[in-house]
């Protein structure tokens, strides 16, 4: 295959990847978009195999073996993973992209002739620059994603881990990283290559451990972005346009998602990265909570009130995901709709642990997507609603964000559930949310607290209907 033809085919693959993201502009076109992505990937792989066929029989065997192993693991995971675990799955996948970038760079370093970037020990300096950026970002993405995975899957505490002098340590590591990148470009030594890898691996861990659980939507988007930049770095090394285009797409996609998440929390990207937020839980909010009386309700009360309502807006949050309450919730919605009640769902951008997490869970429970609304589209409707049914969400409904200038979340856009006739809160306790802030809504006259596991309470309401 001529070099021009293969370059053209890589371009076609890149365009198909653009179209696959374009398809996600609406659920109707999204499935076709995903198909474009698969075709693009198939073209990229076929082009590589045709233009640079594996050198001998053993190499072919290794290729087939790796595709069979990796492909079947991937297929099984994709089929089995519960939708509530999507955030940790995505984090795990990010870590694989990061590690693959490191390994490909290592492969290119040890066999530069196969990548047309020089000969062993004599690689073009420019390729070394691109390679070192790819390997550094890749390694950082790898360990960062592993930590994010551990935090999201609760294998590690979500509380921020604050090391003394962490900023000094990080700056020192970054400086050392630059030092070894310069060293690698000047000398091309393997020692420098592996020092870059090790330092970037350490930096990835140190960057993510101080970030608390509530900031995970930002972290996971940020790592998404990094995995793209790592791929782009390798794309420059290989001179492969499919990889460069994809890296740029993914990099900007993750960056935009991080921006949207930060904006929805009214936090600057820098303050999230510096970390320490999202961990000052309980202590601050728990103490003041007990003194004020909250109105507790039963499932029967809730069922009765809702059946007699005209309009109910349901506000799901992370608690719904943890309790797997989405199916019971949809059942409740169905009964209400049969009774002639108008049911809508309101979703805050940072509800859950990753962008769009709640939408996927509701879709899984067969909630039609045209009943699910974003913050800006539904906020004006709470005033006309009889009931706001808040299930497993807290901070995103906190009126202090609009009313209390001293509140740490002041200025964050929130769902104005308090404007509804009655607010029902399903929560495990009166404790504060992730941000560690007391929610004054719990103690208002038109608020009814339904304490207990989100799924059980919803099921009881369904029974009482």
């Amino acid at each position: 295959m001529s070099a021009n033809l293969s370059a053209f085919l890589y371009l076609v693959a890149g365009v198909l990847f653009i179209l696959s993201l374009r398809g996600l502009s609406s659920p109707a076109s999204s499935r076709q978009g995903n198909l474009f992505g698969m075709i693009g990937m198939a073209i990229a792989v076929a082009t590589t195999l045709a233009s640079h066929p594996p050198a001998d029989g053993l190499a072919w065997l290794l290729v087939i073996l790796a595709v069979a192993i990796g492909g079947s693991i991937g297929a099984v995971i994709a089929r089995r993973v519960p939708m509530t675990s999507m955030p940790e799955l995505v984090a795990a996948f990010h870590s694989l992209v990061g590690m693959a970038a490191v390994l490909v760079a290592a492969g290119a370093f040890y066999a530069p002739e196969a990548f047309d970037i020089g000969t062993p020990g004599n690689i073009h300096p420019q390729s070394l620059v691109e390679m070192s950026l790819g390997v550094a970002i890749g390694a950082l993405t790898f360990t960062g994603s592993v930590i994010a995975f551990l935090k999201l899957s609760a294998r590690m505490s979500g509380a921020p881990i604050i090391l003394p002098f962490r900023h000094v340590i990080n700056i020192a590591l970054a400086a050392a990283l630059v030092f070894f990148i310069v060293g690698l470009v000047l000398t091309g030594s393997a020692f420098d290559f592996w020092m870059i890898t090790i330092l970037a691996l350490a930096l990835g861990v140190l960057m993510i451990i101080p970030i608390g659980g509530a900031d995970m939507p930002v972290v996971i988007s940020m790592l998404n972005s990094y995995s793209g930049w790592a791929a782009a770095g390798i794309g420059f090394t290989l001179g492969n346009s499919a990889l460069i285009i994809t890296g740029a797409l993914v990099g900007s996609s993750g960056a935009i998602l991080s921006y949207i998440m930060c904006h929805a929390m009214n936090r600057s990207f820098i303050s999230v990265i510096l970390g320490g937020f999202g961990g000052e839980t309980a202590a601050a909010g728990g103490g003041t909570g007990e003194q004020k009386p909250a109105k507790l309700g039963s499932a029967d009360d809730a069922a009765f009130i809702m059946k007699n309502a005209q309009k109910v807006i349901i506000v799901p949050g992370y608690g719904m995901a943890v309790a797997q309450a989405q199916h019971a919730l949809r059942e409740m919605g169905d009964i209400l709709k049969k009774e002639g009640v108008e049911v809508k769902y309101a979703i805050h951008p940072v509800a859950g642990r990753m962008p769009g997490h709640m939408n996927v869970l509701l879709a899984e429970a067969n909630v039609p997507y045209d009943e699910v609304f974003e913050l800006e589209d539904i906020n004006s409707e709470f005033a006309q609603a009889d009931i706001a049914f808040v299930i497993g969400a807290n901070d995103v409904t906190n009126p202090a964000a609009e009313e209390d200038k001293t509140s740490p979340i002041y200025g964050m856009p929130v769902l104005q559930v308090w404007k509804a006739g009655t607010v029902m809160f399903i929560k495990r306790s009166l404790a504060s949310g992730y941000a560690g802030i007391d929610n004054p809504l719990f103690y208002r006259d038109n608020t009814m607290m339904l304490l207990g596991d989100a799924k059980k309470v919803t099921e009881n309401i369904v029974k009482a209907m």
Binding site: S25, H52, L103, A106, G107, A242, G254, V360, A363, Y369
Partner: protein, 105 residues
């Protein structure tokens, strides 16, 4: 100043592709509906595994020098990781997207 003999470094072409693709990405991603942000992440994950082309090059290298064996080893592991991601990423995205339904009338 020589004119005719000037050759543009291929790096500049790559950089042009990169910069333009960042802009394309910017506009395409802003048009993605927020309801599909999770599938967006899983599909970007899958397509960033196009790094598989690098893994294929590394694993398929001819055994010409002492480094070749290492390259094959690294490439083999990278290929497994990339394939987990490609198959896992696209299939889980497909599974998610299949769940998004409109109101049945």
């Amino acid at each position: 100043m020589e004119h005719a003999a000037q050759v543009v470094d291929p790096f500049i072409f790559r950089l042009s592709i990169f910069v333009l693709a960042v802009f394309v990405g910017y506009f395409v991603v802003w048009s993605v509906t927020p309801a599909l942000h999770t599938p967006l992440m899983s599909v970007t994950n899958a397509i960033s595994s196009v790094i598989v082309v690098g893994a294929l090059l590394a694993v398929g290298v001819g055994m010409v020098s002492s480094g070749s064996g290492w390259a094959r080893g690294f490439g083999f592991v990278a290929l497994i990781f990339a394939c987990v991601n490609i198959f896992g990423g696209f299939l889980v995205t497909q599974r998610m997207l299949a769940m998004y339904k409109k109101k049945s009338k």
